[in-house]
Amino acid sequence: MEAKTSEEVKLSEEGIMSPWRLAWRRLKRDKLAMLGLYILAFMVLISVIGPLLSPYTMEEMDLSNIQSPPSFKHPLGTDEVGRDEMTRLFYAGRISLSVGLFAVVISTVIGSALGGIAGYYGGFVDTLIMRIVDIFMSFPFLPLLITIAAVMSDWKVPPQYRMFVVMLLIGVLSWPSLTRIVRGQILSLREQEFMQAAEALGIRDKSKIFRHLLPNTYASIIVSATLGLGGAILTESSLSFLGLGVTPPTPSWGQMIQVARDVYTLQTQPWLWVPPGICIFLTVMAINLFGDGLRDALDPRLNR
């Protein structure tokens, strides 16, 4: 009897909780996911407020003190024109994180909208969109990205705007997989009774797709966007490392590692290229930890 009442209390308690609060509660219990969240918050924090606290600026050169190893004044040393490496690392964090974030926003918006439209209308529209997805997905991602990035470098975009080009590029190329996921879910949601109700109420197509169908796929969209953020940050770093992404003087983590292509720097000045790599690694790992936790928390089949 006693056990049954506690069960009932638990049930009624969960009954009034929204699915999102339930997921958050599950997420909070996942230690690894929370660790990921804390690391990520820390990386964002140092990128946002780090430059404000630093006594140096990003461009400030000190030619009397070039390529110096880490010291009390310069905790991560200085580069070939005497700029403080730690300050540049913070600024690079701003660039890398915001490029990743906006690329994911772009690809998520395109991916879910097209997935919703393809799944809802079916027929010709569906075929057209899915063939475009097939075309995009039959390219190996990095070779295509490099090809387009090379063409775009010829447009003579000023360096300070290059990061927007990179955001757009990564965002516009990475939507197809999300489109497939969303379309698949919309196809089955479309046949459910609430959609008949929506039909009977005479709701417009636009609001049927974006207000009634898509919100039901938010769980997978969020998980895909979270894990996509890690991918976008890695992609940006590879592209910038190859000199086809964010270009100097704007720093990004991947671009800061570029100096290590020179064997002398690689061997003797590890403070120039090891820290940015660690930053990429920690950020992406944190995102993956959090994303995995989020996927488990949002999956109603798992009840731990």
Binding site: S138, F139, I146, D154, F241, V263, L266, G277
Partner: protein, 320 residues
């Protein structure tokens, strides 16, 4: 089955045409052409005009596309500007180096990751499982080029244990086993980078697929029959768990040829990756088009192969 394959092959044609149009449009967006940059300064405007005419560069874009496609259908991708050789010859020269490197790391990662994935799943939440979950997490989170640079620093530059770059020791003229040994020696570090990445991915797939299968009723039945745990896991569970993993193999097929651009270029491995970067940096558009189109074709074939294998090993799936 044959009908299915034929239909899929026919379906590939419009996709490939779409791919080629997309590629062509991308390269059309580049300002200028090959003759407006890096050519002999002594070339007069008339000769340039003559050359443009010969290369059909004075024609509208869609006409150029048809000229190019006419060649492609016959297997002629034009001449590379940089190598001054047919694109197909250039690709043939380098693609096998990529293939060897990728194949070795692919085989290694299958051998390593599947047993680990299976054991992690059967002992979920054990120390073994946690340890390899962490390894997999590191593997998918570390940028390949950064890991490569760290390895070069530690093993090649500091310890002199392995060569920094290349595929063979310069100045030596080894044959037979000696040459193979030398290649393996050069292959070690790039292979390590590639293997870590793919082991991480494959291990996660195997583990989660295995966890899914172990919960199934037929596994309970197998245990209830009194079968040995080994037989249950390695015969009944593993076979079913491998089905989704096989699709990953198909997806990896194109990457065996496309090589890992970053890893290859860091280690100066003479594969298709550095060639692609060379083509990018020299704006060698015929070569770039050729490489991308061939990679797209391989991707489509890989997907088809994955679907066929899928049906062959899982009788529940009927190809229609």
């Amino acid at each position: 089955m044959r009908q299915y394959i034929t239909r899929r092959l026919i379906q590939m044609i419009p996709i490939l045409i779409g791919v080629s149009i997309l590629l062509f449009c991308i390269l059309q967006m580049a300002p200028g052409d090959i003759l407006s940059a890096n050519v002999n300064p002594h070339m007069t405007a008339e000769i340039k005009q003559e050359l443009r005419h010969q290369m059909h560069l004075d024609q509208p874009a869609y006409v150029q596309y048809f000229y190019w496609m006419k060649g492609v259908v016959k297997g002629d991708f034009g001449d590379s500007y940089y190598f001054k050789q047919p694109v197909t010859t250039v690709i043939k020269t380098y693609i096998w180096n990529s293939f060897i490197l990728s194949l070795v790391s692919f085989i290694l990662s299958v051998i390593i990751s599947i047993p680990i994935g299976v054991v992690s799943a059967t002992r979920q939440y054990s120390k073994f499982d946690y340890f390899f979950t962490v390894v997999a997490l590191i593997g998918i989170s570390i940028p390949a080029f950064y890991f490569g640079l760290l390895l070069i620093k530690w093993f090649a530059v500091d310890l002199h244990a392995f060569p920094v770059s290349g595929m063979s020791t310069p100045g030596t003229n080894l044959r037979g086993i000696g040459a193979a040994g030398d290649t393996l020696y050069h292959m070690f570090l790039p292979c390590l980078v590639l293997t870590l990445g793919s082991v991480a991915e494959l291990m996660r797939y195997t583990r989660s697929s295995m966890l899914e299968v172990i919960k199934q009723d037929y596994i309970k039945t197998a245990r209830a029959k009194g079968l040995k745990e080994k037989v249950v896991i390695y015969k009944h569970a593993l076979r079913n768990a491998m089905i989704p993993v096989v699709t990953i193999f198909g997806m990896w097929l194109p990457s065996l040829f496309s090589g890992a651009i970053l890893t290859e270029s860091i280690f100066n491995w003479p594969g298709i990756g550095p060639i692609e970067l060379l083509a990018v940096n020299n704006r060698d558009y015929p070569l770039l088009m050729g490489i991308n189109l061939i990679l797209a074709l391989l991707t489509l074939l890989g997907n088809l192969l994955a679907d066929i294998t899928y049906a062959l090993i899982d009788p529940r799936i009927r190809l229609k």
